[in-house]
Each structure stands twice: as structure tokens, then as C-alpha cells.
């Protein structure tokens, strides 16, 4: 079709694309600003100048350096990474499952993680109660709990993969399997909680409160590798997700191997979520709402939705965590409470605004 070589780009298209690019760049700048602010504020105020000097490798005051490198920077990076990973996984899952309620937790991963943690607390003796300055309860053996939660998440993913291989990788099969497994793991957790003593019960419930403060540099390193790999994979598949959004048949006719893309996307989203959940506990809402906030503003094109969702997730979790640290200092609120408090009104505003157009 040689006539196709002579087309003229519609007026306004370049500006339309640029608006999306500027939105993403704006989000990036805001994320950097928020990162510096989050490191600066807290029980001990570290001047922004010190933070910038520390982050750029310039010499800083010893006390500030300790606060920044040992406490606040890993804390903030954990929030950035977890927010990005959960939001990217959510954006991919909503496309893969063709379901607006798709999120990293649609497949029952949060319930599986909670069960894994409860299992470790009760049966592997990982749960004893301690008092610290900032929190009433800590888990005695975090590594065992993390490992157990991670294995439970991976087990869930493998069961869904096995079911999908038997029954076909349709969104309905995946979502319903996730709901069933979620119910199963919730029942398992309740069973354990019923027989747990007070200390174990407190440790189990405490674990489900997602908290980015649990991450040290080692956890941040693991999460960085997992989130980076997942985001690269999702971005690599951006056109596949756009094609699946147009319908499975259309996607197949465009050369997309729909079942394979769906299955692989589900596995990657599950794994990255498993890393985050097992290190930090359950942080819901970010993966569900951030992609929707982004879609409402810049549309459904995954070339833009994926990077923008990552940044929105990072901003929401970092802002929530900072607020959680400051609101009732020295006590730290569970970040999951704040993500909903900050994200839900923003999302509802966008929802109403679009309706009223």
C-alpha cells in the first residue's frame, strides 16, 4: 500500500503527546522534591541543603549523615520502590485481567502473604512481642516471617498458573482463582489466629499493617532489583497491553500471543508484589488506584500509563509514609491507612470531575 507513505500528522497530535510527556516529567520532578522533603522532615529536622549534599555525595555533618543513610534514605527508597512496583503491577494487571478492579492483590496475594507471616509467627516461633521507641510490637524473626510470606505468595501464583494452564489463561479463570485462594488463605489465617496466644495474635495483626520502615538497605536492594526487572518487563510489553485492551481477538490479529502475555505478566506482577509484601507487609490501594488516577488524566495508552503509574505510586506511598511519620510522632501510623486517606479523595475527585464534563 504505497499510498500510505504520504500522510500528514494531524495538527495538535504532537502537542497532545507532549502534554503526556510533560505530565510524566512533572511527576518525576515532584517525586524528587518529595524524596528530599521526606528525608529532611522527622523527629530530627535535617536541613534540605544537608540532604541534597548527602544525596549528591558531598561531605555532610556526621549526625545528619547517620540519620540520612541509616534511617531515612532506606525508608524513603523503600516507599518509592514499593509504590512504583505495586502501581506498575496494578496497571499491568488491570490490562491483563481486563478488569478495572485488577490489582497486585486480585490474585489473593495479600491474604497469602498474611497467612505465610501468621504461619511463621505461630508455627516457626517467629513472633514475640517487644517494645521499641516507635512501635509497640515487632516481629522477633523478621527474616523467617519474610521468607514464609514470600513463599506463600509464590505458592499462590504457582497454583493460579497451574489452574490457568489447565483451564486456559482467561481473565475470568485468573480472577476467580485469586478470589478462591484469597478466601482459602484468609480462612487459614483465621484458623491460626483462633489458636494463637495474645502475643502471637498481636504479631500476626502487626505484620499485616504495611510499614516501609521495616526495610533496611538489604531489603531495599532486593526490592530495587525486583521492581526494576518488573517495570522493564512491563514497559517492554506496553504495546501488547494496548492490544489486549482492544480485545483478545484484535490483539491476536495484531500478532500478540495473548495467553502467553497474560500468563507471563501475571507471574511477574505476582513476584514483584511478593517481594514487596513479604518485606513490608500488606500495602493495598496503591496498586489499584494509582493506575486509575493516571488513566483518568492521560488516558489508557500504556506507553504513558506505566511510567506515570510508577511515579504516582511512588509519590502516593512516599507522601503517605511521610505523613504517617509526622502526624502522631513519635508514633508511626501504618502507611496503608494513609495511602487510602490521601489517595481515595484524590481519586473520587477525578471520578466526579470526569462525570460532570
Amino acid at each position: 500500500m504505497s499510498h500510505l507513505d504520504h500522510g500528514r500528522l494531524p495538527a495538535g497530535y504532537t502537542a497532545y503527546v507532549n502534554r503526556k510527556v510533560y505530565f510524566i516529567l512533572g511527576l518525576l520532578l515532584f517525586t524528587i522534591f518529595l524524596l528530599v522533603t521526606a528525608i529532611s522532615v522527622g523527629a530530627v529536622h535535617v536541613p534540605v541543603g544537608e540532604v541534597v549534599r548527602a544525596l549528591t555525595g558531598m561531605p555532610t555533618e556526621a549526625r545528619a549523615q547517620v540519620i540520612i543513610y541509616n534511617i531515612r534514605l532506606p525508608h524513603a527508597l523503600a516507599a518509592l520502590l514499593a509504590g512504583s512496583g505495586l502501581a506498575a503491577a496494578g496497571a499491568a494487571m488491570q490490562s491483563i485481567l481486563r478488569n478495572p478492579l485488577g490489582s497486585p492483590f486480585t490474585l489473593g496475594l495479600s491474604q497469602a502473604g498474611a497467612f505465610g507471616a501468621a504461619f511463621a509467627v505461630m508455627l516457626l516461633d517467629a513472633g514475640t512481642m517487644q517494645s521499641t521507641q516507635v512501635s509497640a510490637v515487632t516481629i522477633a524473626n523478621p527474616y523467617l516471617t519474610t521468607l514464609s510470606a514470600f513463599l506463600a505468595c509464590v505458592l499462590t501464583s504457582l497454583i493460579i498458573v497451574a489452574i490457568a494452564r489447565i483451564r486456559g489463561a482467561s481473565p475470568e479463570v485468573m480472577v476467580l482463582s485469586g478470589v478462591a485462594l484469597g478466601a482459602l488463605f484468609s480462612a487459614g489465617t483465621m484458623f491460626l489466629q483462633y489458636f494463637a496466644d495474645d502475643v502471637q495474635l498481636a504479631a500476626m495483626v502487626f505484620w499485616t499493617f504495611g510499614d516501609v520502615g521495616r526495610a533496611g538497605w538489604r531489603e531495599v536492594g532486593f526490592m530495587a532489583a525486583a521492581v526494576a526487572a518488573a517495570v522493564i518487563y512491563f514497559v517492554f510489553n506496553r504495546w501488547n497491553y494496548n492490544a489486549i485492551d482492544a480485545g483478545d481477538e484484535t490483539a491476536r490479529s495484531l500478532g500478540v500471543q495473548v495467553e502467553r502475555v497474560r500468563m507471563a505478566g501475571m507471574i511477574i506482577a505476582s513476584l514483584v508484589t511478593a517481594f514487596i509484601v513479604s518485606f513490608l507487609g500488606v500495602i493495598g490501594f496503591v496498586g489499584l488506584i494509582c493506575p486509575h488516577i493516571v488513566r483518568r488524566i492521560i488516558g489508557d495508552d500504556h506507553r504513558f500509563v506505566l511510567p506515570a503509574s510508577c511515579l504516582t505510586g511512588a509519590v502516593l506511598l512516599l507522601a503517605s509514609d511521610t505523613a504517617a511519620r509526622l502526624m502522631l510522632a513519635p508514633h508511626v501510623l501504618p502507611v496503608a491507612v494513609l495511602t487510602a486517606f490521601l489517595g481515595a479523595p484524590a481519586f473520587l475527585y477525578l471520578l466526579i470531575q470526569r462525570r460532570s464534563r
Binding site: 500500500m1 499510498h3 500510505l4 507513505d5 504520504h6 500522510g7 500528514r8 500528522l9 494531524p10 495538535g12 497530535y13 497532545y16 504495546w239 494496548n242 492490544a243 485492551d245 482492544a246 480485545g247 481477538e249 484484535t250 491476536r252 490479529s253 495484531l254 500478532g255 500478540v256 500471543q257 488513566r295 488516558g299 489508557d300 495508552d301
Partner: protein
């Protein structure tokens, strides 16, 4: 251009859906595949597009078997417009750009953008380029989907009931567009349809399916009332009006089901 040979398709555990199906289609020709619901029209299109692998037989495009091609290669030869098209929040331009997927590399090239613009211009859709497809009417969305299939630069265009749920003006508009594009660019088009009159007006050839087999095939002027009656089990009259073939239900039209229910 397109050769479908001895196709036999069945579902696991079920009976045969299509059997002994064979036809050829040349450049620029339009074939209307007709028959009652459930006879296997959509299955035939999916088989041609290699979405379903037949038990036996072959589908050749330019003498190359589609069953030996990768998914991306098939997408360069065959464009497919599905019966149901989902509309996300995306401009028509980006929705059509998706059709370049089989040709895309990491970045969208200037060439890809140029081709999308050209297809939109060719189908008279330039004014819709920056409109979101989730705000479009059924007719507009269908044209965008056809544009998306055309920008794949296919040799063969497959359309599954392209005019279902459209009003008369849009039906004529869409079929006219398909015919014009097919003729101008030598694309072979296979359309499944329910409206016999539109099919016979716009297609070069018809193919009636009955019980999964080719019951009759030919030019529109070769359609007879007996053929239609045998395929659809409805009494009809075939009229010739202004050089066109028109199928109308007979004044005393009744189906066999009706006749049986009338029995005492």
C-alpha cells in the same frame, strides 16, 4: 492471493464445525460468507487468521501457509476486524497506530506515524484523529477499527460482521469504504454477514455455508430463492432491481419451525 483448501475444523470432544471447505480469492475481490447463526462463519475467519488450527487443510496467502508463520508474520499478511471492539480512553490516531504493532520496533518511527495519517486521510477520518474512541458512535468506532486493520498493510482483510448493530447509513458507508479500499489496493476481503441484500450488493462473490460445508458459491446474480430457502429454511423471493439482486421474504414466508407448530 488467498487459497483455502480442504479445511476441516472441530472442537475437542465435539463434532465437526467445518468440513471440506475450499475457495480461492483474488486481489481486490470481496467474498461474503453467509449462513445461519452457528454455522461456522466466525470459525472460518479465525481459521484463516490462524487463531484456530484446523484438523486438516491449509490456508495460503501468496502461496505461503499461514500455519507455518509466526504470529507477527501473520499480522503483516492478514488484517482482522473483530465483531466486538473494545474502546479504551485513547485517541483514534493512537488506536490506529496500534495497527502498526507487527511492524513496530522499540520506538514509533516517523514512517509509522505517516502511514497512520495516510490511512485516516484515505478513509476520511482525519477530523476524528484526536477524538477519544470511547466517545465515538458505533459507526465511527467501526471505521477506526477498519483503519487499524488497514494500517497493518495486509494482503487479506477479514471482517466479522462489519455492519452488525449499525444503522443503514453507516452500513452503506462502511461497506462502501471496504469495497473501495479493497479495489484500490488489491486487498482480498472476506466478510461474514447476515444481511443478504447488503452482502449481494457489495461483495463480488458469495459463499453459503450449510451444516459446516459450502452449500453454494458464486456471483451475486447467481443467487436463487431455492439456495436461500435451503440454507436459511425461509421462503424467499429473489428479485432483480436496477441491476441488483434483492432477497425478500415471500408474502407467505414461514420457517419449518412455524409450520410444525401450526400442525394440529
Amino acid at each position: 492471493m488467498l487459497a483455502v483448501k480442504d479445511i476441516r475444523i472441530g472442537y475437542k470432544g465435539g463434532g465437526l464445525v467445518l468440513d471440506d471447505l475450499e475457495f480461492n480469492l483474488g486481489r481486490g475481490q470481496l467474498l461474503a460468507v453467509l449462513g445461519p447463526n452457528g454455522v461456522g462463519k466466525t470459525t472460518l475467519l479465525r481459521c484463516i487468521n490462524a487463531m484456530i488450527k484446523p484438523w486438516a487443510g491449509s490456508v495460503l496467502v501468496e502461496d505461503a501457509s499461514v500455519f507455518h508463520m509466526t504470529a507477527a508474520e501473520i499480522a503483516k499478511y492478514l488484517g482482522y476486524v473483530a465483531q466486538r471492539n473494545e474502546a479504551g480512553r485513547m485517541t483514534a490516531f493512537d488506536a490506529v497506530l496500534l495497527g502498526r504493532k507487527p511492524h513496530l520496533r522499540w520506538r514509533v518511527s516517523r514512517e509509522d506515524l505517516t502511514k497512520v495519517s495516510a490511512v485516516l486521510h484515505h478513509l476520511g477520518l482525519e477530523h476524528l484523529a484526536l477524538r477519544h474512541i470511547d466517545e465515538m458512535s458505533g459507526g465511527e468506532l467501526q471505521k477506526v477499527c477498519i483503519a487499524r486493520a488497514l494500517v497493518q498493510e495486509p494482503q487479506v482483510l477479514l471482517l466479522d460482521e462489519p455492519t452488525s448493530s449499525l444503522d443503514l447509513k453507516n452500513q452503506l458507508d462502511i461497506l462502501g469504504t471496504i469495497r473501495r479500499v479493497a479495489k484500490q489496493h488489491g486487498i482480498a476481503a472476506v466478510m461474514t454477514m447476515h444481511d443478504l441484500n447488503l452482502a449481494l450488493r457489495f461483495a463480488d462473490r458469495f459463499l453459503f455455508l450449510k451444516h459446516g460445508r459450502v452449500f453454494a458459491c458464486g456471483r451475486p446474480d447467481q443467487v436463487t430463492a431455492e439456495m436461500v430457502q435451503a440454507v436459511y429454511d425461509v421462503q424467499v423471493d429473489v428479485l432483480h432491481h436496477d441491476g441488483q439482486v434483492v432477497v425478500v421474504p415471500a408474502a407467505n414466508a414461514s420457517t419449518s419451525a412455524k409450520r410444525y407448530s401450526d400442525r394440529p
